[in-house]
Symmetry: C2
Subunit: 511 residues, 2 copies
């Protein structure tokens, strides 16, 4: 049989097989489906639309509910069941979600949630994440559109931060992971690519990193995971505005060098978790450049100040960073989780993570084409399409409005500061440069009453601040992140906190 006859025969056989395959859906419509698609798509659609309506109603009514309430033990006990062997109808599961999960949520959607630095989500983000979940792209690599969308987000960030468009970027879960990626990339830069194979014990000297006393604990964790050791994170003292003391940083570097250690990594904070302090990034950039150290900015929420013309000057110097870690799920309210690592040095970034595994080989054409895959830029291989919810958020609101919403939270925080300053019960414990206000009961030197008030407010369902320690004392901390939080909410918050203080002094808890 000649080549062309063989080809024709093959093509005819292909055509027949394809036609059979396309009919598989329609064969034996009454047989139980072997796949996991719905037996009845219309019934499924009805359930799905009801689920969507449920969430829209929930989001619409978020202000009318308690900020938080604890799940009763009977509800918790429901979630200690055995592995379900048989399936249940989707409608009933949505009911269970409505009845047993929705009421006992995190609280971070509510305008009076001010605990920790949580984003509030948006209805737009929910729709985008639904689309992403349906599309179900694996963004580890290969040539498909989700990868292009992720690259566009990197481009947008490069533009926003004044980085070159050649900069590399990758989505990760959050800034904890982005800080780890930064430490590992900086390690490659300092010790060279052979550190991947040889490990840290092959290095001649011990690496040392630097961050302020107020920097986030994820820096320690990054150094721990990376095997460098958190004892080699120098916690540099801060000034009155809780910014890293650049002179002390210089001295620490000099001391470590003198002792034969190898400084490699300076972490500036753009918005500390405790008080929203922003290091003098320009000064840190200067010093890092002089010393030949990698300058990383932990900008978990504060980096996005660049979107607000009013706040952008506060993070001056961030455009000189070697890398930036930030979260879209905080001040940009992209649904959890969506962290990002942006890097000025694409080459060393790739050299840190790229693999030569055969099943990841690139092809000149087809689905395995494309040069750089996201799995070359971070620790993940399987990865969801975090870029889509971020893309929808930027596109639906525009950078200007997102920046304005960020700036507004800072104004609300200043309003809260004013109320606290005027309060007969409370005193300010830090100055809000951004959106975080720390305060405490006047005269509560142990901070015990502050802790009690926070628990009491949680249990009352009226407001949810958190606690932290400032100069050793537990204080009440309100992080105004939520786009729904208005100035008038601060009156409620302070009134509720004052009532709580009065109740607790009278020996009573939240009713």
């Amino acid at each position: 049989m000649g080549r062309s006859r063989r080809l024709l025969k093959s093509l005819a056989s292909e055509e027949r097989a394809l036609s059979r395959s396309r009919k598989i859906d329609r064969d034996a419509p009454d047989a139980p489906r072997a796949d996991l698609d719905p037996a009845d798509w219309d019934a499924f659609a009805e359930d799905a639309h009801r689920g969507l309506d449920l969430m829209i109603d929930y989001l619409r009514g978020v202000r009318q509910r308690k900020v938080w309430q604890p799940a009763p033990e009977a509800v918790r006990a429901r979630f200690r069941a055995a592995l379900p062997q048989k399936g249940k109808p989707l409608a009933g599961l949505i009911d269970e979600f409505e009845q047993f999960m929705l009421p006992y949520a995190n609280g971070n959607l509510h305008p009076l949630f001010m605990g920790w630095v949580h984003g509030a989500g948006t209805p737009v983000g929910m729709v985008a994440d639904m689309l992403a979940a349906g599309l179900n792209a694996n963004c580890g690599g290969r040539d498909h559109i989700a990868i292009e969308v992720e690259k566009e987000i990197a481009l947008w960030l490069a533009e926003a931060f004044g980085f070159s468009p050649e900069s590399s970027g990758v989505f990760v879960t959050g800034t904890s992971m982005a800080n780890l990626v930064a430490a590992v990339v900086a390690r490659t830069k300092t010790l060279g690519e052979p550190v991947r194979r040889g490990g840290l014990r092959a290095a001649e000297r011990q690496l040392v990193a630097y961050a302020s006393q107020e920097a986030h604990g994820s820096i320690e964790r990054a150094l721990e995971i990376a095997g460098i050791g958190s004892a080699f994170l120098r916690r540099i003292r801060v000034d009155a505005a809780r910014r890293m003391d650049a002179q002390a940083l210089g001295a620490a570097i000099a001391k470590d060098r003198a002792e034969g250690l190898l400084p490699f990594f300076v972490v500036g904070s753009a918005g500390t978790v405790n008080t929203g302090a922003i290091d003098a990034l320009d000064a840190l950039a200067d010093l890092s450049a002089d010393e030949g150290l990698w300058f990383h900015v932990d900008g978990a929420f504060g980096a996005l100040c660049v979107l607000s013309p009013e706040l952008k000057p506060l993070v001056k110097g961030i455009e000189r960073a070697d890398s930036i870690a930030l979260d879209f799920h905080k001040w940009l309210h992209v649904p959890y989780d969506a962290g990002f690592f942006l890097c000025r040095h694409p080459q060393v970034h790739r050299e840190t993570f790229m693999s030569t595994a055969a099943y990841l080989a690139r092809a000149p054409r087809g689905l395995a084409a494309a040069d750089i895959w996201p799995c070359d830029l971070g620790p993940d291989l399987s990865r969801g399409f975090r870029a889509l919810k971020t893309w929808f958020t930027f596109q639906a609101y525009g950078a200007e409005r997102l920046g304005a919403v960020i700036a507004r939270t800072c104004r609300v925080a200043r309003h809260l500061e004013g109320l606290i300053a005027a309060s007969t019960v409370f005193e300010l414990c830090s100055r809000a440069r951004l959106n975080i206000v720390c305060f405490g009961v006047k005269g509560d030197s142990s901070g015990e009453l502050n802790r009690e008030i926070v628990m009491d407010l949680h249990e009352s369902g009226l407001a949810a601040p958190s606690t932290t320690r400032l100069d050793g004392r537990p204080v009440i901390r309100a992080a105004i992140v939520n786009h729904r939080t208005a100035e008038a909410d601060m009156e409620v918050f302070v009134a509720a906190a004052e009532a709580s203080a009065a109740r607790l002094r009278a020996g009573r808890r939240a009713p």
Copy 2:
């Protein structure tokens, strides 16, 4: 003013403030919203429901489309735009998604996608992820229901794997990350908790890990990130079934000990990426116990064989592992991403990651209550609610049906094997123990034609296998993971591959 008068006054003031706050939504309904909620909820709901219908139609028609097609350059160029300053209506963004993203997707939903080991998602998972995105829980910690749901998933896995209910578990992005967590926890077990502070250079001896030649590249990457160095991963030779040679493992451990190194970590593979091989887990468990090494199972997809009574015997021994890494987004079709790390030793697991940062302090009551938070068990602090889509998947389908779907993919793979064995064009290159079939063109010793066929099939849109290397030769690899893939699809695939081989031999590419 006495205590009770002060209290009454406070409560009255609280009541007034709260009433004002609850009305914020209704004040000035015509003013532009300061928050990111829709100005017109009904219009938003209409767009959201249209988005949902779009995805339902997309999922319903998945079999009728091409598996994959490359995005034209004009489409890619759309995703290189400047940062959008102004917002756009949601409806138009959904149109853009429909027009410029949906057609250029990854392909993994299509029954003829067999490239890599990708899950196919489910409509149920999409609904669950929409609910999660609306709820927008941060599952790093605190006392809310999402944490209970995550703990229930750990319980279910403990039951499925025969672990104690006291075992600890944590969601991560995927098995790459779960393998990193495993390496880091095993490092703590071996070197003690002080390794967190002191780092690896303080350890007396170099750690060494062991995995088969066929084990996944993420093990190397985990050792690199953890600073141990991938040169200290011993790649142990495999037998004819591509399982780790236990005798060679024992010899390697002995040699390393003799050389003063510190063996600590044995990784068994339950389903290798190249051929689906499963190590003799019982033998590895014995050896690890004898040697006092941490026995980790990389069960990215294969671990879930335990859900099928027919396949469960293949992973015998997994119940003796110290830890297991697996993905729900592969064989369980939970939308990307949803990896899990299950650990038999909750204490050392916690000791590895727990932090004492003030802003993470636990409270006796309120939102900051609860003992163990997920951030004590892994590298992430901000974390999405991956547990919900996993919970919905187990609840909607039941473990029995999920196990049956897994077993069915293996039957489809055996059917493909039969077709290849009967083919005049192709020959089998590995035996499918699970769901992966590797084959190549008879006589194509360089494997060049195999690579060309895979690209050609991608470009034709008919089928998407991938390539890998077996014994140095590029081969065609079909991983049958998709719940939609039926036996009849294999006829299409083989006919298409044979037609492609004939076309390419005739010097032509996909039409």
